[in-house]
């Protein structure tokens, strides 16, 4: 519960204190405010507050000094620095002195909610007193990247090697194998972790939209552009740009992208100003890029720019020893999320899971377990609780497209053809879902 998290806001500006307090109260947190660092130090004891938001610039005592003194009294307290844009270098300094993170005023609401979620998670992990190793793994958000097979160990090793370097990485693997999780793990273990990782799914968007999505546009660049907009490349400045499904890029976009990678600068759509950027590039694809290069569909120079360090993620059926480990991992995860007593998987059900072909890979397994947890009433997950397709195909080969088509249709029906909800359930965006509906010629019956 959020109400168990105690937040203190220290800022000399009344309006900042009040608006932040109000924001956190809507999230149900227990919030207090103070305008004076000295007062805070007088009443501070270990474990009095979980999270402290501290303005870096205050008249009597600077945020940096307060940070140091707070850490001396309560090293566990999570301190987030609030800074004006001009003071960012000082805020970076604060990170070295034990600040958890910093935010720049005015704060983007999305950034603030992510940051606080991260801080609360961090605090809860500490409270659960789990082992240091597990804590680090949570911090780098390996999350659902689970596996003990040789194939996965190799992947983890590659992540470990490449993360701290600034090398361009290409992740290859079927959909549902967790390519985005790997990109995030690399980012979070790199020196760029204090900057954002921005993900763009190149396959989900039409060329004209993708162009303004990546490069941004100036006001009036095209009909409907009523407002200047930052592109994803610009948002990734300092951090990591993750381009998924690069194999689908049009020839024009390939040229544009190559130019940015080589020059580290670009123009917004409809603009002449040169925007300089500094980002690390991670791309992903499940297409045979080498073939596309051979057929002239993908530029060779771009291919070499992207494919500097390759990580191949095995399909789930190529690492079957991980199936029971993953299945149990997801059972635990959903027990926790659904607040249910821990279930186990019956011998028969496990056999079905072990023999199935998993065209949708880890994501499909995760969805299957989630469903089984919802529909099953016994303490053991039974074969009947598994999705019909898995239960019936027992090891039979299904083409990826067949199962995708069936699965999407089923989910659409489940959500009464509400595309937004179906897309959310499928964990894809609406545009992707629309494209797939068009591809399979689906219409509401």
């Amino acid at each position: 519960m959020n109400s168990e998290t105690r937040i203190l806001i220290v800022d000399d500006e009344l309006v900042v204190r009040e608006s932040l307090k109000h924001w956190f109260e809507e999230d149900g947190y227990n919030v207090e405010v103070s305008e004076d660092a000295f007062n805070v130090l007088q009443i501070l004891q270990p474990d009095k507050w979980d999270i402290m938001l501290v303005d870096i610039k205050m008249p009597k005592m600077s945020g940096l000094e307060l940070l140091e003194r707070v850490k001396a009294i309560d090293p566990e307290c999570i301190v987030v620095i609030i800074t004006a844009y001009a003071s960012v270098p000082t805020a970076v300094e604060a990170l070295k002195n034990g600040a958890f993170d910093y935010v720049t005023k005015p704060i983007d609401p999305e950034e603030l909610s992510h940051l606080i979620a991260k801080a609360v998670k961090h605090k809860n992990l500490k409270n659960e007193n789990i082992s240091l190793k597990a804590r680090i793994e949570e911090m780098i958000n390996l999350g659902d990247l689970v596996g003990e097979s040789l194939e996965m160990k190799k992947v983890f090793e590659l992540i470990h090697i490449v993360a701290p370097q600034d090398t361009t990485v290409m992740i290859r693997g079927e959909s549902g194998t967790g390519k985005e999780l790997i990109a995030r793990a690399i980012h979070l273990n790199s020196p760029r972790k204090y900057y954002p990782i921005i993900a763009v799914n190149c396959g989900a968007l039409a060329e004209s939209i993708l162009e303004s999505e990546l490069f941004g546009h100036e006001k009036g660049a095209f009909t409907g552009a009523q407002y200047k907009r930052k592109g994803k490349i610009e948002m990734a400045d300092g951090g990591t740009l993750f381009l998924d499904e690069v194999g689908t890029l049009s020839p024009k976009m390939q040229v544009d992208l190559l130019r940015v990678i080589e020059s580290k600068q670009f123009n917004r759509v409809g603009g002449n100003d040169v925007v300089k950027v500094n980002f690390r590039l991670i791309s992903a694809t499940n297409e045979p890029l080498e073939k596309l290069v051979e057929n002239g569909k993908f530029r060779e120079d771009l291919y070499y720019r992207l494919n500097v360090f390759a990580i191949n993620v095995p399909a789930l059926r190529e690492r079957r020893t991980d199936i029971p480990i993953l299945a149990n991992f997801f059972v635990n995860k959903f027990s926790r999320l659904m607040n249910k007593p821990n279930k186990s998987i019956s011998k028969d059900a496990m056999e079905v899971l072990n023999n199935y072909n998993w065209p949708g890979n880890v994501r499909e397994l995760e969805n299957a377990i989630e469903r089984a947890m919802v529909v099953g009433t016994l303490p053991e997950i039974q074969v009947e609780n598994l999705p019909f397709r898995i239960e019936n195909t027992k090891g039979m080969l299904d083409s990826l497209e067949d199962s995708e088509r069936l699965h999407i249709k089923k989910i659409l029906e489940k959500y009464d053809w509400n595309v937004t909800r179906a897309a959310a359930a499928l964990e894809i965006d609406r545009v992707t879902l629309y494209n797939k509906m068009r591809k399979y010629d689906f219409r509401k019956e």
Binding site: N2, E13, V15, V16, E18, S19, L20, H22, W23, E25, E26, D27, G28, I82, K105, P106, I107, D108, P109, E110, L112, S113, H114, I209, S212, E213, H217, G224, A225, Q226, Y227, R229, T420, R421, A424, D429, R430
Partner: protein
Amino acid sequence: MKQKAVLILFSFTNSYTNSSTTNNILDLLSRTFPFEWEIVDADFNSKDFYSHPRKQYHSTKILEQALEKYSDNFEKILVLTDYDLFVPVLTFVFGEAQLKGKAAIVSTFRLHQEFYGLLYNEKLFFERLQKEILHELGHTFGLIHCKDWFCVMHASANIDEIDMKSDHFCNICGKFIVD
């Protein structure tokens, strides 16, 4: 007799919607919240809320003025505006409400597709507007953000999160909506 509530249109031009929008909103309000809803045009002075450097309007100040002018006669106050809203510490807000209080405000500025460089979509726009209205008024009934992704009281820090949730209260949150 039902208590009275007021819908205040503050530079709400209907420019992104058809003419029946305000009627649809009144319908939604009367269906969802047990009050006698009236509609008025705001007699606010925009200059009081405008920030030149930010080119945005300070939502907290608008709420203050709305309360000053309307709280004697109305139990709930909802302001609708096309202006882009902010509170000083954040880059923008979709809306603002007094937690367990009387007044709420919702801006349409970031709810239409054109803002994101996409094609006009009236239906989607109206869905988003409905959700934001229910959400902000929900706060005035003391509701805090709900963990249920489909509940309209789920927090949304960007437009995708507004689209993800449904346009109604979950069973638990719904119990709070009484007079």
